[in-house]
Assembly symmetry: C2
Homo-oligomer: 555 residues x 2
């Protein structure tokens, strides 16, 4: 049985799910022993600990010029001391060019089989990837497992499915038979999906696999060779994925350099050199807007970006204010606001929020929101695990700075203890009340656990500001609470024009931060928060070119 046949059923289900957009997940998100094995977690923990201080020797790439690595755990604030092989840009490019001409000629089915098999292999290492993620990103255990393991693998599968479908969108051959009156012109035509070339995937420090695998698998599926340039602070999680891809390639007598890891260090970054290289045709990027915009402007490249945004919450009217406040408090606390989908700007009318029990004043809502944050943060069985740790020291500085914003500090940030890691770098949310006329304060992303309660004239102003922020500065998510259908449609319409998806009236165990593979387009590509979307058709069609050849049928 070929690898394609082995995985064909799941591929077909994935393609179906892409279209129906109903719930689908190929990789169980619960780290249950019954699913992943009784000893999987403990074994992975041991394996992770054994990797610390050592060389990562799983890659099949050769001719490294040195070894390096500067990862540090936000939980221990100590270096992981894992070193990775470092290659010259020339070596990476030359290897990739060579591999490209082999890989591009492989049938789409064969490519799909190899890629799906690599996900199956990665599945066996989800716990390892989880520990690697915790100790590079600061994510809590559960998020680290889910986001970097099953959710990332589902996103990868989604990109494979979308790519596979597009490659089969047009026929390989057709007979074109044109009646000309007395005779017919007959041409044999053929269409080739021609991959662009070398694809560079630039990772980020907070979601090192989730944000990178779509680009990696999307490019590989469509026949491109890939250079994975991880963030120097978060290498190990994606290194494991790359190693498993290389394993499957090698086992199938294909060049493992089809997907190379291109590690660099903070003191000698190679991202620009790679991005500007004439042979690099595709670039996937997650990170800050300045660098993303630089990449987008590079001539002759197809660039997919997820940059920064200013996510809004519009509070108009609620069924149950406590449930709404609890849901939003969780969204702010989750991974300490270090998600690109976390809310920042909460627009609340000065005269309060409508509810069945009457108006809830601005201050009352602020107090309820703060109480919900505190309830979670101060619960030692929940707080440390939901908040995780702060990936980057600068985020802590930003949180401290936020207390000096021109508004009223409703809740100060504080450090909380993590029972497992006494050195964990933590910061609870800071909440600041800001007047809606202080637009300069809330017109930019304040990355981290920072929530701004913005006092607006009314819901119309709230909507208008949320739309303006999204259009001018980008937005990846938006939450809105309203019990009024006409207000709801207005929000839906105005935010749609700003290319921002809205989660309405979320309560309970589902949060605006969450975007599910096969259903939620992550980033729409339609506002400054990014020009690409996981995974719409363009996300894969831009990775190759349809070229048609033709020849008269021989008479």
């Amino acid at each position: 049985m070929s690898l394609f046949q082995k995985h064909e059923a799941i591929l077909n289900k994935a393609i179906e799910a892409l279209h129906s957009r109903i719930f689908f997940a190929a990789f169980p998100e619960h780290p249950a022993p019954a699913i992943y094995g009784e000893t999987a977690d403990a074994d992975a923990q041991t394996k992770f600990k054994n990797q610390l201080g050592k060389k990562f020797e799983e890659l099949k790439q050769t001719n490294s010029v040195s070894w390096g690595g500067q990862e540090e755990s936000p939980y221990t604030q100590e270096a992981l001391n894992i070193s990775y092989p470092i290659f010259s840009v020339d070596t990476l490019i030359n290897n990739s060019k060579k591999a490209f001409h082999q890989w591009r000629k492989i049938l789409a089915q064969e490519r799909a089989g190899i890629l799906l098999e690599s996900l199956d292999r990665a599945k066996k290492r989800f716990f390892e990837i989880a520990y690697a993620t915790m100790h590079t990103t600061g994510q809590g255990y559960m998020m680290a497992f889910q986001a970097s393991g099953p959710h990332a693998a589902d996103r990868a599968l989604e990109a494979i499915a979308a790519g596979y479908e597009e490659l089969n969108r047009f026929p390989a051959h057709a007979l074109w038979d044109k009646p000309m009156g007395k005779f017919n012109i007959q041409l044999n035509k053929e269409w080739r999906a021609v991959p662009k070339g070398i694809s560079l995937v630039i990772g980020c420090s907070t979601f090192p696999t989730w944000n990178s695998v779509t680009g990696i698998y999307g490019s590989l599926m469509t026949g491109n060779s890939v250079l994975v340039k991880p963030h120097p602070g978060a290498i190990l999680p994606i290194a494991i994925f790359v190693a498993e891809i290389q394993n499957v390639l090698a086992e199938n007598n294909l060049d493992p350099n089809t997907c190379q890891l291109a590690v660099d260090t903070f003191d000698k970054m190679i991202t620009k050199e790679l991005a500007e290289h004439a042979d690099v045709k595709l670039i996937d990027y997650t990170g800050n807007s300045a660098f993303g915009s630089y990449l987008e402007a590079l001539p002759g490249k197809v660039v997919f970006t997820e940059k920064t945004g200013v996510n809004s919450v519009i509070l108009d009217s609620v069924e149950d204010v406590d449930k709404a406040a609890a849901n939003l408090a969780f969204s702010v606390n989750l991974y300490s606001g270090q998600m690109c989908t976390a809310p920042q700007n909460f627009y609340i009318p000065a005269d309060g929020i409508n509810s069945p029990a009457g108006k809830i004043s601005f201050d009352d809502f602020a107090q309820k929101f703060v109480a919900q944050i505190n309830g979670l943060v101060d619960n030692p069985k929940a707080g440390p695990f939901v908040l995780g740790a702060i990936q980057n020291k600068k985020t802590n500085e930003r949180v401290v700075e936020a207390e000096k914003l021109p508004g009223k500090v409703v809740l100060k940030s504080k450090h909380i203890e993590n029972p497992q890691f006494k050195n964990a770098r933590t910061a609870t949310p800071v909440v600041v009340e800001i007047d809606s006329n202080k637009k300069e304060v809330f017109s930019k992303e304040l990355f981290g656990p920072i929530a701004l309660l913005i006092k607006t004239k009314n819901t119309d102003e709230s909507i208008s500001l949320a739309q303006e922020m999204a259009m001018k500065h980008g937005a990846i998510s938006c939450a809105a609470y309203t019990t009024d259908n006409s207000v709801k449609e207005k929000i839906a319409d105005e935010m749609a024009l700003a290319a921002t998806p809205v989660s309405f009236n979320l309560i309970g165990g589902i949060y605006m931060n969450q975007n599910a593979a096969f259903s939620d387009f992550h980033v729409t590509g339609g506002n400054p928060a990014g020009n690409a979307s996981f995974t719409n058709p363009e996300y894969v069609t831009k990775r190759f070119t349809w070229v048609g050849h033709r020849e008269p049928v021989k008479g």
Copy 2:
């Protein structure tokens, strides 16, 4: 019966053809009285003559600031003296913004119905459009009819079909039902295809409808409002299309400003002002590379370009050299080489071309090619009609300059008489032999009836040069003659990597210049000749954004 119901069958056929890519045409290409009506041609000729020297008053746009128009017939070399209403940029933009918010809310079916009806109306005016095209572009009658009428309408239908399909690609609503163990999370989700805004379609002087209607109809189908900025030298053909779109809009109580004609004059061009306007989100452009690249680099716009290219012919081996030479001679003569798909660089090995009758030397082929050109050009019943007239005086200058290229002039250009128009601006092809080491000579587009016979070391060098030209300078078409299957696959592969479609071994009544709607992707988008393709999925998906909203199912 709604307009959608009226045209639904043809739309469905068009969508099917898009996928099967077998022959399909909705609009008959033959100007036969039996199809288009016994008096259609004569009536149109009268109508065209009556329009000369008058105001074009068919548009439903108001508040013009002046009237102007500088079209000139390449057949009479006299001004048409037709004047069009001219509007301020502010008026155009404000009208378009207003119309956008009505048009975007119309159902896709309703939009499709209106657009298909407008094509049906345009069909009744194909002969008028043909005369308008002849006397602005210089195309011969048959090409003017086919390219600006039925072929353009088929391309428009193709864009409508592609857009309609993509708008229906994802469900409007779905129930997302995620099992969480003890309970399910249920969300009602909805997806909206949100148009980008104002779309600017910039026309060219040689194919004023064929190259513009795809952008116009692609943008309108996906909910954008459109500004049609014709080339100041070729307004009337597309003005008739716009008038018919406005008629159907008005009859259906929709704002005719949904599609506006934005005429300017050579002395006061408004293209840049429109393109750079913040409210213009989409730009379609056909024309020179310098302006195309300027447009592509505009930040915050989605830009579709067809620019210039250097099209190659690779001659390796032939079944019948005379048939090959005749086919290529026709391609060079057709509309005097003023097609973006016309061949320019003919790569011929120094030691000749293989054939069943033995080697055909470089010089022998050159003589056969020249003889075929002369045979057509000097045939008074064919030459003037195939060549048409020269649109732009600069093309004549370029043809004269070509005789000074550093090579041997194998055939000089000359003027031929047109029996119907004694003042016609004509120029027959100039053919120059160039050595392959004179790369600077043939590394650019020499627009017009200019053919370079390039003497190469061998077919490998021919392929390598053709690929290099396409990769560096762009190419829209390529012809190759080879009877060797391994050479054929090499050409197919190398030119595919340069994103250039190859027509192999064409003889008889089909030419490399021709690209058929529903089957041939016109321009691939994968080399410098343009970043877009008629009509691949990206051509329409980039005109709107998928935005998904969601809300918990009420318990």
